[in-house]
Assembly symmetry: C2
Amino acid sequence: MDIIDMKKMTQFNHLNLFSMGYRDRKGKEKSWIFASRCDEPCALNGKDPVPDAVVVVPFHWEKQRLVLIREFRVPLGGDQYGFPAGLVDKNEAVLGAAARELKEETGLTLVRTLRQSPPVYSSSGMTDESVSMVYAECQGEPSTDGNEDSEEIEVLMLSQKEARVLLETPGVKFDVKTWIVLSMFAELGRI
Amino acid sequence: MDIIDMKKMTQFNHLNLFSMGYRDRKGKEKSWIFASRCDEPCALNGKDPVPDAVVVVPFHWEKQRLVLIREFRVPLGGDQYGFPAGLVDKNEAVLGAAARELKEETGLTLVRTLRQSPPVYSSSGMTDESVSMVYAECQGEPSTDGNEDSEEIEVLMLSQKEARVLLETPGVKFDVKTWIVLSMFAELGRI
C-alpha cells in the first residue's frame, strides 16, 4: 500500500480532518478520513515524531497509592476516570510537560521517572495523535488549586483493593490506558 | 461544568467533527471541537454506551506467545505494531466482533475470553471513540488469507524475550494500548 496525496478538509484551531488518498494492496485508489491536531499531520512530515501529549502514570511511593483523576470531559458530556495528561507545549521537553501537568492537575510533585514510552498512537485508524506514557513516582498532598477554569478535577489515591472496587463499579467511564494499567494494579498491586 | 449545545460541523461518512458548547467552572461559555464516528455522538444520546470498536489481546496458550500484528496504517503513512482490532458491526455482539476480527486479521481462533472491559475511551480530549478490550486465549496457525484489500498485515507471535527486543528497537511505531500490555508482558511473561 502507498500514500498518493493528502488534503486538509477543515480549518479549525485545534483539531482538523484530513483526507488521505492511498492505493490498496490490489492497486485500487481509495481515500481515508482521519483527525489530526497538527497543521501538517505529524507522521507524514518526515521529522522525528514528537508526541502531541503526555500521559502520567503516577505512583505515590510514601502512601503506596496509584493516582487517578476524575475529570469532566466535554466530548463525553460527563466525568471520566483517567491519568493526569495534557498537550506538550511547543519546545517543551516531554518530562517537563509530565511534571507540569501532574502538578497542575493533582498538586503532586514528580520525583522519579520509572519508564517512558516513545510517541505511541492513541487510535491510528482515526487519528495520528500520539502520546508519551510516563510512569513516575510522585510525592506531596493532592490539591486542585492549579486547575484551569475549563478543568473540573477530583484526585483519587487508590490502594490495590480500592482499584478492584472501582473497576467493578457499574457505569464508570474509563480512559482505555487507565483501564489497562488499573486492571494490572488491581491484580498485582504494582505498576 | 455543563453542556449547552452541540453542532455537527462536517458531513463525511465515517468520521466527523462536532462543536460542543459548554459552560466552564466560572460560568463562561466556551466551545470544544471533537471527532466522532457516530451520527449523534454516542456519549450524549442517553443510551447505554456501545463500543465503537473491539481490541483483542490474544495469547496463544499452546505456543505461550503474545500475538501482535504489524499493519499499514493510512493516517500514519506507515506500519504500526498493534493488536487485532476493528469496528463492531451494527447489532454484532462485542465478543463476536472480537472472534471475527482475530480470525480475519491473524487466522487464529478465539477459544477463551480471559477478561473484557466495558466501553473505554481512546482519547477523550479529542474524540468520544470507545473500544472494548478483550483479553483472550487463541489457537491455530497464523494466516493472513482473511485480510481485506485495504489491510496489509504481518502476524507476530512473541516470546517474553522477543517482546523486550521489540520494545527496544528504535523507530518502531506502537499503538499505545499495545505498548502498555507489551511492556508488562516483557517484564512478567504474562498478560
